[in-house]
Assembly symmetry: C2
Homo-oligomer: 350 residues x 2
């Protein structure tokens, strides 16, 4: 167990830890006393039929949703909906390698799949809140992977789904991209096969990791137009050292590796013997597939190919010069588009 | 000086080393007895007006041109033209860090710019062959950078130019992408600040370097369609370990770093105080701008923006699922397109 000030209430504000008991894992083994960190917004109504689930991405927590996506001025409106953001396992706030002791600590943390998270989330919503159905499940990137897993695994519980900047089955290119992120960490002598004693021992690896994100996470046009200026930075290098490096540098390497392993292997067709069309064909939710037009690793065509396999799926492309990391709401027009699409989705009968 | 079997006649076949004397460098310092490795095809006619210059890319040599681009069945036809492929400085065959002794050896090798190469090439062609004008200058990637430098620096000597998969001014995104390649090398403890004694000491770094190339060098669709199968590999991992890793693993880290430094800073607007339009406006050559449609780091739009600034420039997009490394002629349709465009360019009056 490592003390890391990033994964605290001081940094992340209010959230609750909910113990869902023992979570048996798809890859074998289990997590006893599995804790999910959740942040809720709004009130669950008496019928318990106004709930929205928001899932989190690689490196992400509930924080960005609280700060940028959720509010009375947004489609994710807590005056109307009960919105639950569930931090995924391994993200540092929910049960994660860095915060475990004993058998699950650090390099001993088990392999967790997207399906494990979704099973855990379903249990939490049902047992903790009595929620049996969701008005909407949405998330970006790995959050989209969880969204698809929900829609395929629990079709009767998901009325609407919005998968932002992610796919239902991870692509081969995404796998090798993510592997370069892992290698940036593994290659740091301070990583010590996952048995470092503070994340700062792996700061060189985390820095390289951040710089690979800079190449793939934004778009060529983001850099060409010096979009980082609008974020308050003076130079591209300032943006790297002042934003990207501290962002990832604060995180725990084993936590990131746990997320990466999960990301790389996301695949709803595990439910159907590898048949993606059959898996996506199970979805009954009204589903908006929302890729970002400048995304370099979840490109529109990969998302559109999946959308075509979803019975009630619709393609809603978000335009953002920021590329994949447009998810961070790096330009005003981004959230306006998300709000418009989610608003229209929530307005559909389901 | 390091013995490296990759940079030999055994591996690279016939080429000649031409000593062009002392080359003074833009960044200061000089290379005494600068040697350029050249491979020639065809015969220079009596008027010395049938010469074509081919320039090389990062990690590349004359080899790929000899094997795939030049021949009586290609636009680069040695039965008609005298074709000179000049290996760029630092590529391992021409004067390079690994092959120097004394003051220029290894980490002491000076910074070389694209302009230095072009000055050296012009001198070689003039003094060694008596060539004063070129029917065509062409090259891909860093070869495109050299092509543009030729057309801007020596407009009276370049009748036609074909810049494949590269830009006249390197982009900010390209800079940071290339930096991740460098960091893969720098971060290997075996690199020892450039003072390793054999490149195999840096094999871990070269392997990571190869894997980042795999992410950016091809296209998402290359991986999704398993295009590597057509190249004789059984799995994506086979392709990585059987092609990408041995390809880069054979090379010299300091040589690659010298090329990367040069690539990152390519900029024809150095001739015009940073005014790219003014620089490209100098070009009198009939110029074909030939980006690859799936290129992830020299995207069509960046190339098209430069083409629009060239007085006699024309955009000719090459379609290749292989992305940037389509340059390696990884599918039959690629060279057919190159031949068609270069053939039409060579047929123009100039």
């Amino acid at each position: 167990m490592i003390e890391n000030p990033y994964y605290t209430h001081e940094h992340h504000g209010d959230y609750d830890l909910v113990n869902i008991g023992t979570l048996d894992l798809e890859e074998g083994g289990s997590i006893p006393d599995c804790q999910l960190a959740i942040a809720t917004f709004g009130e669950l109504n008496a019928a318990k039929d106004n709930a929205i689930l928001v899932t989190t991405w690689y490196s992400g927590t509930h924080q960005i949703f609280r700060d940028a996506y959720i509010g009375s001025e947004h489609a994710l409106n807590p005056e109307r909906y009960f919105i639950v953001v569930i931090n995924q396992i391994g993200n540092g706030l929910s049960t994660s390698p860095h915060s475990c002791s004993g058998d699950l600590a650090m390099s001993n943390f088990p392999a967790v799949r997207i399906g494990d998270d979704v099973v855990a989330q379903e249990r939490l919503l049902r047992e903790h809140f009595g929620i049996e159905a969701l008005e909407l499940v949405t998330g970006g990137s790995m959050g989209a992977q969880q969204t698809y897993e929900w829609a395929v695994r629990f079709p009767d519980k998901v009325k609407r789904a919005a998968a932002i900047a992610g796919t239902a089955r991870n692509t081969p290119h995404d796998f090798i991209f993510t592997e370069t992120l892992n290698e940036a960490i593994w290659s740091d002598p301070g990583w010590k096969e996952g048995e470092y004693t503070t994340n700062t021992q792996v700061s060189d690896g985390l820095k390289r990791h951040a710089r690979i994100w800079s190449v793939m996470g934004f778009s060529t046009e983001f850099w060409k137009t010096e979009h980082w200026r609008s974020l308050g930075f003076e130079s591209a290098d300032d943006f790297q050292t002042g934003f990207m490096e501290p962002y990832f540098g604060a995180m725990d390497p084993n936590d990131l590796l746990t997320l990466a392993w999960k990301w790389q292997r996301a695949d709803v067709s595990r439910h159907t013997g590898g048949d993606l069309a059959a898996a996506l064909g199970r979805i009954s939710a009204t589903t908006f597939v929302m890729p970002i037009n400048e995304d370099m690793f979840f490109p529109v065509r990969d998302c559109a190919a999946e959308q075509a396999l979803i019975p009630n799926g619709e393609l809603r492309v978000i335009e953002s010069v920021s590329g994949h990391l447009g998810l961070f709401c790096l330009e005003p027009g981004y959230i306006e588009q998300v709000d418009r699409h989610l608003g229209e989705l929530l307005a559909t009968d389901a």
